[in-house]
């Protein structure tokens, strides 16, 4: 499964904002999200998501006061700005009037309370995150509008919002830092970054920015479209990934900045020299793909799979910037298939739109590419088929939350991607050479077992017992048991001897 269930998306948005608490209407055990956030992101803080448990009693009599009580309790204990009641697959079928609970709770509580408008059976994690973000933004802007505390003026200097950076996102933290740096270089102020680290109280100031940046189209696009419709805010949904798209992104920013500065026309900006300098000298990627090393990559076949943003961008980088052949590219974002197909037109041989990892596996097995760029799923497929894989998109494991600085966006991102691509292939080549020359696997010759071992007999039962021990520990157990038997002058090793040996060695 590539994209998780809907409530995960809502929880990711909720727990990215500061001081927002999510309450799931869910049975025991559905709060697995907290484990993921705590383990993958290595979060130091308690994840602001709890469950209002659905159990037998709820099934029999409905939640009654329980949900309202849980909301009010959180309100009293932690004083969040906003509490989001999150439905799960279980509550979807129970069809309780959760909106009613929210209405009742919001009358009493100091926190704002909203009900996440996501249907488990209609949307997945990504779509739910997109919706929830829009819902939260809309809620605060609408309210502000009603109260007419409206400050419509744009900021004096050019400014932008970055929308869609959030928790458990693929390299989101690093990308965010890279974007900040880029915008500082371009002399553009950052108005707000949402949802990560954002405060819902500040959302009313979103329209003060000159334009919105949507680095990943999966999450944030709905919000941007809403802000565009209601407040006429332009948005840039190009991902600044890869040198070509980087340049395109900066030019779009330039256009937006210049449109707004027309009145005071002497302040028009020209970013072309910046683009040129960065592309040729700050980013090493352009030079790298012309260097002799990269000649070896010419025409190598690859398969790319991931979310729409990353799969499309990486495909364009491989084909357009590195001259590598992309035999097949695919995405699991089925809802965005049209955009995806349009983006990669002309950069690949085949397109695969699916969320079934078995289908992706079959395709890879059939293509036999020299390298795969995909998610953790593809990494495992690659392992089985002995094809190297670079991970470029969620879903991911803990190793894709590196501590070091590893953006995928911006000019530093181009360097990181070039490394990733090159290293995947280099390893593939090494493997291949080793194969041709017989490999360096000399395990058979050099063994840790001692030649004096002969003379000990393992009876059939103990043999069998030994075979049940996981392989990585088996040799050690075998050695230790034999050592013990030799010390004690035992000739036949029985199961009993094995375990006596284990105990004896405990000391």
């Amino acid at each position: 499964m590539y994209a998780g269930p809907a409530h995960i998306g809502t929880l990711r948005v909720a727990s990215s904002f500061k001081n927002v608490h999510a309450i799931m209407h869910a049975p025991l055990g559905d709060d697995y999200f907290n484990v993921m956030r705590s383990m993958l992101e290595r979060e130091r803080d308690f994840t602001a998501a709890t469950a209002s448990i659905v159990d037998r009693h709820v099934l029999a009599r409905g939640s009654q006061e329980r949900v309202v009580d849980n909301i009010l309790r959180k309100d009293k204990e932690e004083h969040p700005d906003l509490i989001i009641l999150t439905p799960t697959c279980t509550s979807s079928i129970l069809q309780e009037d959760l909106q009613n609970f929210v209405d009742r709770a919001s009358i009493i509580s100091d926190s704002d309370v909203i009900f996440a408008d996501v249907d488990h059976y209609q949307v997945n994690e990504i779509q739910a995150a997109d919706r929830t973000l829009e819902q939260v933004v809309r809620y605060y802007l609408d309210r502000c509008h009603r109260q007419e505390k409206w400050d419509q003026f744009l900021t004096d200097a050019p400014s932008a919002n970055i929308i869609g950076i959030f928790t458990l996102g693929f390299h989101n933290q690093h990308d965010c830092r890279e974007l900040r740096r880029l915008l500082r270089d371009l002399d553009i102020k950052i108005n707000q970054i949402i949802p990560e680290g954002g405060s819902v109280e500040d959302l009313k100031n979103l329209p003060k920015a000159w334009f919105n940046l949507i680095p990943y189209r999966e999450v944030g696009l709905m919000t941007a479209m809403y802000l565009n419709k209601e407040y006429g805010m332009p948005y840039i949904s190009t991902s600044p990934m890869g040198a070509v798209d980087m340049a395109e992104w900066i030019r779009q920013i330039q256009k937006n900045v210049n449109t707004f500065t027309l009145s005071s026309s002497n302040k028009r900006v020209d970013y072309e020299p910046y683009i040129d300098g960065q592309t040729r000298f700050v980013s090493q990627a352009a030079w790298f793909s012309r260097s002799i090393d990269c000649q070896n990559l010419t025409g190598k076949e690859t398969v790319v799979f991931g979310d729409a943003t990353h799969a499309a961008s990486i495909t364009k980088i491989l084909a357009r910037e590195m001259g590598i052949r992309v035999s097949c590219v695919g995405t699991y974002c089925k809802h965005d298939a049209e955009w995806f197909k349009e983006q990669i037109q002309g950069f690949c041989d085949e397109i695969l739109i699916t969320d079934d990892h078995a289908e992706v596996g079959d395709m890879i097995a059939h293509m036999e590419p020299s390298a795969i760029f995909g998610t953790q799923m593809e990494r495992h497929i690659g392992k089985r088929l002995d094809i190297p894989c670079g991970v470029i998109s969620a879903p991911v494991h803990i190793q894709n939350f590196p501590l070091g600085y590893r953006p995928f966006l911006g000019y530093e991102g181009t360097n990181q991607i070039a490394d990733l691509v090159y290293n995947s292939f280099a390893l593939g080549m090494e493997d291949h050479l080793l194969d041709i020359f017989g490999g360096h696997d000399t395990k058979e010759i050099i063994s840790k077992s001692l030649s004096t071992d002969i003379g000990l007999i393992w009876n059939p039962e103990s043999r069998l017992e030994l075979s049940k021990i996981p392989r990585f520990a088996r040799e050690k157990v075998e050695r230790n048991t034999e050592k013990f038997a030799r010390q004690k002058g035992i000739e036949t090793i029985t199961v009993e001897v094995m375990y006596t040996a284990k105990e004896a060695l405990n000391t």
Binding site: P5, D31, Y32, N34, S38, D55, I93, N124, R384, E503
Partner: protein, 456 residues
């Protein structure tokens, strides 16, 4: 909130807002244990997502489990459940040919009242593979209780009467002269009614426990579950059964009520004290005088000395999520630790009676107050208590481990106790290895003085 010191054993109950794994996680260890099985989880994307993430890489090792993902059509009964499951099971038979298919019912099948129990026998006769139904859902159960529901369902499938089988065997042996083998067994074991142990353990741990009882000349005639489904033990009137894990109360009830077995109520063989008490409860049932147990226990304690020095006088707080808590707490108290609180998802006082009384005895023996036992704990209350008590070690789920560590509270991730080998004399060391690991790391990093790593 102040913390009372109990002189007697009491069980409090809180709100039940706590973190634990969904009971369907039992699939992860049971499919490995029962080699010829196939587990089919009938649930939603949420269940699948949990299994995929909780089991990590295992999902790609072509495991013998799968999800039957329910979609909107299934929920609104537009699709035919029976036909859907039939198609799936036929495919499973074709691809894997298992000896048994186990359907795991989830919250969703519960709510839409999908009649798995009704469909299973029908489909079973149609496709010719036994189909068991276990309702391991989060509405009713927590984490390890999932195994309980599966084993309870499996108990029904155990071959019926031991007598016929044994008589048949004996006549066979007379005819085909397996005399030598039989004689040998007679010498080694006391003649006693059959004993079946229940609870899923790695096969080398079952061997160790078998051996332990063999030393007392008690023969274990079978395990529920066995390594293979087709090797399920015989049950029936006159068969004695004994549990090895504290979360198997439904299985125990089924064995007593439905299978007419005699339950030996004993503490669980966790820690040398528990293992000894466990054997000592089993022996008299078969008229055996336990031999050399005291010395054996002492030898194990002796071998644990280094660990005991580390844990002595340190305090522990169990937040509670896997029902092993009472047994572990009892063992740790015996090791010289102070237990502040034993959180536990569910407390079956009858099934755990012997364990609870051993806990009480241990507390008296070690001169410490009996810790409060909190059933269905409330995690936010517990975290408040942890902050107040500042225990040396909090045994907790992963959701709270990192945040607590960042606040200077040393933690041990509780799920590891479920997957580590902790039963029997020989594995006592492994329990302490787990418990002391955070303490040892703490010691290694002590001089850095960076215990609190959150901004106020």
């Amino acid at each position: 909130m102040s913390v009372k010191i109990n002189e007697t054993l009491t069980v409090e109950c809180e709100t039940g807002n706590y973190h634990t794994f969904c009971p369907i996680s039992c699939v992860s260890w049971l499919y490995q244990k029962i080699e010829d099985s196939f587990f089919l989880v009938v649930g939603t994307k949420t269940c699948g997502y949990f299994l995929q993430n909780a089991l990590g890489v295992m999902i790609f090792a072509e495991p013998r489990y799968a999800m039957a993902e329910l979609e909107e059509g299934d929920i609104s009964a537009q699709l035919n459940d029976y036909e859907g499951l039939k198609t799936l099971c036929i495919r499973i038979r074709k691809d894997r040919n298992p000896s048994v298919i186990i359907w795991i019912g989830t919250c969703t099948t519960e709510i839409i009242k999908m009649d798995l129990e009704g469909m299973a026998p029908k489909l079973e006769s149609e496709i010719g593979i036994p189909i068991l139904v276990a309702r391991a859902n989060g509405l009713d159960y927590a984490f390890t209780q999932g195994e309980d529901t599966v084993l309870a369902a499996m108990a029904h499938r155990c071959p019926e009467s031991e007598f016929f089988v044994r008589e048949r065997k004996e006549t066979k042996q007379n005819f085909f002269s397996f005399h030598s083998r039989k004689k040998e067994e007679l010498v080694e074991y006391a003649n006693h009614p059959s004993l079946v142990l229940f609870g899923s353990l790695p096969s080398n741990v079952t061997s160790q426990l078998n051996l332990e009882l063999k030393r007392q000349s008690i023969r274990v005639s079978g395990w529920l579950p066995a390594q293979k489904y087709i090797d399920l033990p015989s049950l029936g009137n006159g068969v004695y059964v004994c549990g090895i894990n504290p979360f198997l109360s439904r299985t125990a009830t089924t064995l007593i009520r439905r299978e007419k077995c005699q339950l030996i109520g004993a503490p669980f063989p966790i820690g040398p004290d528990g293992t000894r008490a466990w054997i000592e409860k089993i022996c008299p049932v078969f008229g055996v005088e336990p031999q050399g147990l005291k010395e054996r226990e002492e030898r194990i304690w002796e071998s644990l000395k280094d660990y005991l020095d580390l844990v002595h006088g340190k305090s522990v707080f169990f937040m509670g999520d896997n029902l092993l808590e009472v047994s572990l707490a009892r063992f740790l108290i015996r090791c010289g630790m102070i237990v502040h609180e034993i959180g536990i998802p569910y407390m079956d006082k009858r099934y755990q009676a012997a364990e609870l009384s051993l806990l009480q005895d241990t507390c008296i023996k070690m001169c410490v107050p009996i810790p409060r036992i909190v059933e269905k704990p409330d995690n936010s209350n517990q975290i408040r208590r942890i902050r107040e008590l500042q225990p040396d070690l909090a045994i907790t789920g992963m959701a709270h481990a990192n945040p607590l560590e960042a606040r200077g509270i040393t933690t041990k991730w509780s799920v590891e106790f479920t997957f580590a080998q902790i039963h029997g004399f020989a594995n006592a060391k492994d329990v302490l290895e787990l418990v002391t690991r955070p303490l040892r790391r703490q010691k290694n990093l002590e001089d850095l003085g960076q215990t609190n790593l959150v901004r106020k």
